[in-house]
């Protein structure tokens, strides 16, 4: 038992027959995701704050037999039984690769002047950065109280390295400040059985003695798997061939860490080539980078470099929903050679998060760079990073109110940047002369002015200030009343009603129609909710059974079906026409009977209380 190098937790019931979906996600970000993830970890942990960190990236070949525990891994991989075509194909490919070459490709990332992980020697269950890194799948070790909010330290990023290996294998080697050297690793498979014994899919490269996880000392292994100097080294054997693109590795390292390199906080060594602040300009002006990219998704690094040199700089303040002010330095250049307006958003540590595109302003001749002016803004940006560190989003945030707040901030960012570009654009127009329209005002202009003055009026009576107000009915302009409950207008004189899906139902085979205010009557008291529906204007059979869908309007006016939850508060739903109890689920009532285009039903409350929810109502036409 002691001879085993890989520990797969034993389980009684094997149930997970799929690879972790994060593997696929990270695989999709390819070499760029891998380079960013690993360099970012390094620059986040310098020995002394503000000092330069070096990351060495090497590509090479290694004899399979020198890979620690290789033969054990082979046994486990050959025991995998995929359940769907994708996993079966993947497993077959893994098996093929294991058998083929004697020498396999690997990539390694090694950092210098970094702290490395600490606490490898700690035998207890105490949470140290080593233990968190080595043994916990989705966690990150953070002292910071903001950890739960900070999406930037997802911890899931560790899988990025596994995903780059054909057999989802990665090793790491750590050297701490005392010179203790340990080697660990993980492999991400799925549940399997070997000789009737079940094993969990995640394997750990570690000793397991008396119920304790004990890291291996590095001296047992090949030098490739040993970190000599303080810091961390990642080794990924069986690296997929598309990752072996040296040019792309260089481009990514420079593009993602432009500021860090310029500010002399990072140097990258790829093979024998050193890239640092002293020579980065020669890379940027080489044909590795375009100054004016012709494609939307190219590298904009050379452009950002030029923009940073430019004199136009202003402080940009963006607010969130809670009136917090976030301050950025904005560098901006207008140059008609730019086909696409991209803004490089950087964190203070020098890593670029995103080539940000402003909504409705993509095809504009600008290039910009945004850098946080203070720690609060920098921390805030980190919470907005998605798992792959490639975008700022609100989608990954769980807490609803935090999510809404982040969404507001991002919208404001779009708006403010858009306004700045617009201002510059309009200023350019000031230099152009007008068509001479002194003798005529085009008919359309005149018509427009006439109509608009009916609903748009200046506030403050004073036409000098340009504030305008619009007074409009909340339900559109007053129309001639033409609908009453028994009104059965001939369909040929009215526009045919169009299908509309409730927000959240995307099945194209289902046909829904939305009922407007005239088609639903609702009367509630503490015990019951009565609904009267009128579908006489719909192009469907008027006397049939149909399903009714409810969706809920939330405080912001957005529609959501998954929050309706009828079963939480409703005991019974009764079809008033035939007195039958109707089946219902969270947001759908089944088989309500309609006759001559109308139906009536009531919801009976579980508790004696008013149902104050406000609903949108749809009917589903059965085929």
């Amino acid at each position: 038992m002691e001879d085993k190098k890989w520990l797969f937790p034993e389980i009684d019931i094997v149930s997970e027959f799929k690879f972790d979906k994060n593997l696929e996600k990270f695989y999709e970000s390819g070499i760029e995701g891998l380079v960013r993830e690993n360099i970012q970890n390094s620059i986040d942990h310098p020995v002394n704050s503000g000092e330069k960190v070096t990351v060495k990236i090497n590509i090479g070949k290694i004899n399979k037999s020198r890979i620690p525990g290789f033969f054990e891994l082979k046994d486990h991989i050959f025991a995998l039984e995929g359940r769907n075509k994708y996993d079966i194909d993947t497993v077959n490919y893994m098996k093929k690769i294991l058998e083929s070459e004697q020498y396999v490709d690997y990539i390694s990332f090694e950092d210098e002047n970094t702290t490395g992980l600490s606490g490898a020697e700690t035998l207890s269950d105490e949470n140290t950065s080593y233990r968190a890194y080595a043994y916990e799948k989705g966690s990150s070790y953070e002292n910071d109280q903001l950890a739960y909010v900070r999406g930037g330290s997802h911890g899931i990023g560790k899988i990025a390295s596994n995903s780059a290996s054909i057999i989802n294998l990665m090793y790491f080697s750590n050297c701490d400040e005392f010179g203790n050297r340990h080697t660990g690793g993980t492999i991400q498979l799925f549940d399997h059985k070997i000789q009737m014994k079940g094993y969990r899919g995640t394997g750990y490269f570690t000793k397991f003695i008396d119920g304790m996880l004990v890291p291996f000392k590095s001296e047992l292994f090949d030098s490739i798997f040993t970190k000599e100097t303080r810091g961390l080294k990642i080794i990924i054997p069986f690296i997929s061939s598309e990752y072996l693109n040296i040019k792309l590795i260089k481009q990514t390292a420079i593009d993602s860490f432009l500021l860090a390199i310029l500010n002399d906080k990072l140097s990258v060594i790829i093979g024998d080539e050193i890239i640092d602040s002293s020579n980065i300009e020669s890379y940027l002006t080489s044909d590795m980078f375009e100054m004016y990219p012709q494609m939307k998704d190219s590298f904009y690094t050379a452009s950002y470099f030029e923009t940073l040199k430019h004199k136009y700089k202003k402080d940009l303040i963006i607010q969130d929903k809670r009136s917090n002010h976030y301050s950025f330095s904005l560098y901006l250049v207008e140059d008609e050679n730019y086909k696409y307006a991209k803004f490089g958003i950087f964190r203070n540590v020098g890593m670029k998060i995103e080539d940000f595109q402003v909504k409705s302003y993509l095809n504009k001749p600008f290039n910009g760079v945004l850098i946080p002016n203070n720690i609060e803004t920098d921390k805030w940006l980190k919470t907005l990073e998605n798992e792959a560190h490639s975008k700022i989003t609100h989608e990954h945030i769980r807490n609803t109110s935090e999510k809404d707040n982040a969404s507001r901030f991002i919208n404001n960012l779009h708006k403010e940047l858009g306004n700045i570009m617009l201002e510059i654009f309009e200023k350019d127009l000031e230099n152009l002369s007008n068509f001479d329209t002194s003798d005529i005002l085009y008919d359309f202009d005149r018509e427009f002015k006439k109509e608009v003055s009916k609903f748009m009026k200046p506030i403050l009576g004073n036409p000098e200030t340009n504030y305008q107000k619009t007074t409009k009915t909340s339900t559109g302009d007053k129309k001639a009343k033409n609908v009453s409950d028994s009104d059965n207008k001939d369909n040929s004189t009215k526009e045919k009603r169009k299908r509309k899906n409730p927000a959240g139902i995307n099945d194209p085979s289902r046909i829904f129609y939305f009922l407007n205010q005239n088609e639903v009557r609702r009367i509630s008291n503490m015990d019951e909710d009565h609904f009267y529906l009128n579908i006489s204007n719909f192009p469907i059979h008027k006397s049939k059974e149909m399903n009714v869908i409810f969706s809920l309007i939330d405080g912001e006016g957005s529609e959501r079906i998954n929050e309706v939850r009828l079963s939480d508060s409703i005991k019974h739903i009764i079809d008033e026409r035939n007195k039958i109890h109707l089946n219902f689920s969270d947001y759908q009532i089944n088989n309500l009977s309609f006759e001559n285009g109308s139906a009536q039903f009531k919801l009976i409350h579980k508790n004696k209380e008013f149902n104050i929810n406000k609903y949108f109502i749809y009917v589903e036409a059965k085929q």
């Binding site: 309009e426 085009y442 008919d443 359309f444 109509e451 748009m456 009915t473 559109g476 009453s484 205010q517």
Partner: protein, 282 residues
């Protein structure tokens, strides 16, 4: 919250165009003046429902104003005027005000004679709890600063253009640029429509971009609340103009029909003017 027309309330609610009431009207308006570092807002309303008016009078219900800005929302009891320090009320933001009638106690609709006849048998069963919404007015929107509120086109000459014609969409206007002043045909003896093709092309491009920027599922319904679409000033002017011209929806298929509703004579006027011009020339 500012309510839209399609919300289904648990009981009939009074608002303009509500089909539960006979000819409902609840119009709300605001006048703004400035004085000595303060904005004075004067509110007034017209409420046609005698039932609701009497409830307000005898204390059965009260009026509220809800105010929303991009960063904030507040509720005030109604008063005929309100003062704000200039720094408290930023008129360059989009602001909205709406007036609400709210019940002060449990109310039975048995005396509500403004409801339509459909309710005559059942209205005695309808009860509104205390603090229930009885009705709401139209919304009054302050649109912030619009430099050119009544203009939709700007006509410019730009000799540096690479093409003969370029149509740009600014935040407030459709900007038509021609390379040479001679591309603009002159007025001649009262024939003014010779340049109408520029108008048509400009509107097409603007409507197309409007759909691209704001539409959900490739369509914009003018009956929905357009204030929530994220419109800039140009979008806003176009959408409100479409509404006033009774356009109910805009999609990629009906752009030409919508342009026709916006201005029905763009092409025919130009054609007839050209013909007359040609005939006169002979």
């Amino acid at each position: 919250m500012i309510y839209t027309k399609n919300t289904v309330f648990p009981y009939p609610v009074y608002f303009n165009n509500s089909s539960d009431y006979t000819d409902p009207e609840f119009q709300f308006d605001i006048e703004v003046s400035e004085n000595d570092g303060f904005y004075l807002l004067q509110f007034n309303y017209v409420l046609k429902s005698e039932y609701l008016s009497s409830l307000l009078k005898d204390g059965g219900a009260r009026l509220f104003i809800i105010f929303t800005s991009p960063f904030d929302s507040k509720i005030f009891p109604y008063s005929s005027q309100m003062q704000f320090r200039i720094d408290e009320l930023n008129l360059s933001n989009k602001l909205r005000f709406q007036c609400f009638i709210v019940s002060n106690k449990v109310i039975s609709f048995s005396d509500n004679f403004d409801l339509i006849t459909f309710y005559s048998m059942i209205k005695s069963r309808i009860q509104v709890s205390s603090n229930g919404i009885l009705g709401f007015s139209n919304a009054v929107s302050f649109n912030g600063e619009i430099k050119r509120p009544f203009e939709i086109f700007q006509w410019l000459i730009d000799p540096a253009l690479e093409s003969e014609l370029k149509i740009d969409l600014g935040a407030e206007t459709i900007i038509v640029k021609i390379k040479d002043k001679d591309y603009r045909l002159p007025t001649y003896r009262g024939l003014k429509s010779l340049n109408n093709h520029y108008v048509y092309i400009g509107l097409q491009k603007a409507l197309y971009q409007l759909l691209k920027d704001l539409s959900k599922e490739d369509e914009i319904s003018l009956e929905d609340d357009i204030d929530n679409l994220g419109a800039n000033e140009l979008h806003y002017k176009l959408l409100n103009y479409l509404r006033s011209k009774k356009v109910d929806k805009l999609n990629y298929e009906n752009i030409d029909e919508v342009i026709y509703k916006m201005s029905s004579n763009i092409i025919s006027k130009q054609a007839s003017d050209l013909r007359r011009f040609i005939e006169d020339g002979n």
